[in-house]
Symmetry: C2
DNA sequence: CACGCTGTTGTGAGCGCTAACAATCAACCT
DNA sequence: AGGTTGATTGTTAGCGCTCACAACAGCGTG
């Protein structure tokens, strides 16, 4: 294996053909599992391939077939647990289907960034893109961009005619809220995520619906930005309300729109001397790995990110290969994880 | 099959050439910013490109230049905060340099998975790979794989002759340990990460060195697996030791090898009625976004993931473009973030 | 004016592969 | 036997691009 020159080119199909004593076309047939090749020939070729360490040149292949077998993923905020997990799911599913996946992470979706990302991917000839862009404005921008390939959204809502996959956020919120009401709470307060986010809207909607179904007038919604800090601030406000006790609606249960904010709420309550769940029950959303170790362990809603990834890729590939035409929208079921933070206790 | 319009092929360089009234070669020159093109001609071509919505075919380009301008990333455990953040940094840096980045996430690095990942990327003709494989066995396996392209490791240590970038884990551990000793603690206990991990080893080494430098015999090391649960277990053991009080080495300060385990330790201490930092000070490593909202806010070590990503890509590109030959190893400086969990209090 | 130079443009070949078609041969039928 | 079939293999022509080189203009120089 002495490499005298660095420039030794990798073997080509012609090299293999020569080595096996057949034509390059036969080599091609073996590689693409064409049925009409004699077993003996096939073996010759396979052996030659192995001897030379041959590997098909994907660029040449792409050039002639006009298929790059490459998918793009555009994601915002990839360091967060949710997007990161979805990414993993996407990537695995795509690899199984024989696609290469290329990711573009945006810090936070400025409109220009999105366009650049699409451009970047387009210039590499991706055949389709999955966009994890959970803000309404992004989905809007994406729809208007009119990309030259199919686009599937994750958590992109279904108001526009882009196909997509989402967790049933509303159902998740309903489950939490119902769980809290069932535990005997008179009402449930809510710390929502930022306005523009579709997940945020759906969770708030689910919460509101359940309250209204039970004839309860929903209390004022507090709003955060998903960060622990914003949760902390909301928690301080809630703590104030809980202690004041003169308002018509007592604060004994809070549904926080994600686990990180819930962490902040818990801290604020603790600092104010309010016991959880004794005086105020708290629930979150996402089930991040830390949630089980929060003080106290957090009741939350788990998302099956792997399933979301698999379904998105499935949908995208269907579009690419022309098996789907319309803007289908799939929902994945969430799962309620009950932990100590909403456990009914002996205290009032 | 009634898609008459679906089959319109994207415009080629020849189309642009015809539109602009020049040869395809001139178009190519404009596209690659060749200096010897008359300004007027250049404008003609640019206009034609715009009119037709032309885009260079990357496959054809790759075929003739033998450069795919694609990089691979192999990462284990991408849903964790650290790897996910590094990934973002890598991806941005690569895009800036005009490379496409394709990620392969492995659940947890079985040897076969690694080989498959390299194969997958190789079959797409990546020009180099960044591997975020922080376990010694992975790096070993990677070195033995002898990939047909340069490989740069992140947190891969420098004992093998693979170039790489790492945070100066040992320095980080030293900073924490010194900080705790300076606060007056007689000794510092340590909850380490799993054995095979290089980060784990380096953090333990840094801690041990500082103790020895100060003439303190390091207490027994507890070991976890990075998860909050394992930290919780270690915390229970430490709580037992702290309360027993008959051992020669008092438990008043603990350096936990990552924040998630520290969360578990904190919970165990709290449940046993031990106050933090009053009775036992606790420090972590990573500075995950939640750390600031732990009970109490956690002293920890912050890593500059963006810098790590940028440097890895820089190193890799240098190797690809032949500007670097030897297995250089870069270190990134950590930053100590001091919070309440190690704040000296009035109690002894 | 012949010569070389530089700047600008065009021509032709070929990267490594697949798709379409042609060629060959054995087997089978009437 | 002659023709038809089907399986197997080879031949040829590009895919869209870049590279090497040729061609030609305009210019200054001896």
């Amino acid at each position: 294996m002495a490499h005298p020159a660095e420039d030794v080119r990798p073997p080509t199909m012609a090299d293999v053909a020569r080595e096996a004593g057949v034509s390059h076309q036969t080599v091609s047939r073996v590689l693409s599992d064409h049925p009409n090749v004699r077993a003996a020939t096939r073996e010759q070729v396979t052996l030659a391939i192995e001897r030379l360490g041959y590997r098909r040149n994907s660029a040449a292949r792409a050039l002639v077939t006009r298929r790059t077998r490459t998918l793009g993923v555009i994601a915002v905020n990839t360091a967060l647990y949710g997007p990161a997990s979805t990414l993993t799911g996407l990537e695995e599913a795509a690899r199984e289907q024989g696609y290469l996946v290329s990711t573009v992470s945006l810090r936070t979706g400025e409109g220009q960034g999105l366009k650049d990302a699409v451009d970047h991917l387009a210039s590499w000839g991706v055949e389709g893109v999955v966009a994890i862009t959970p803000q309404r404005s992004h989905v809007q921008a994406l729809a208007e961009l009119d990309a030259p390939f199919p686009v599937v959204t994750v958590e992109g809502g279904h108001q526009l005619d882009l196909p997509g996959v989402s967790l049933d956020q509303e159902l998740g919120a309903r489950m939490v809220t119902e769980h809290l009401l069932a535990a005997g709470h008179e009402t449930v307060w809510h710390v929502a995520g930022p306005d523009d986010w579709l997940e945020s809207e759906a969770r708030t909607a689910g919460w509101r619906t359940v309250l209204e179904e039970n004839g309860i007038r929903p209390p004022r919604v507090l709003t955060g930005d998903w960060s622990p800090l914003s949760g902390y601030r909301a928690g301080q406000e809630l703590a104030g309300l809980a202690l004041a006790r003169r308002g018509a609606t007592p604060v004994t249960a809070v549904f926080v729109a994600n686990d990180q904010m819930a962490l902040g709420v818990l801290r604020a309550l603790r600092e104010t001397g309010i016991r959880t769940p004794g005086q105020v029950a708290v629930a979150g959303f996402d089930d991040i790995p830390e949630a089980e170790y929060f003080p106290p362990p957090l009741t939350t809603v788990r998302q099956d990110f792997a399933a979301i990834g698999r379904q998105s890729i499935g949908l995208l590939v269907n579009h690419i290969e022309g098996r789907a035409r319309k803007a289908e929208h799939l929902l994945v079921e969430p799962q309620l994880i009950m932990r100590a933070s909403t456990r009914p206790s002996n205290e009032s």
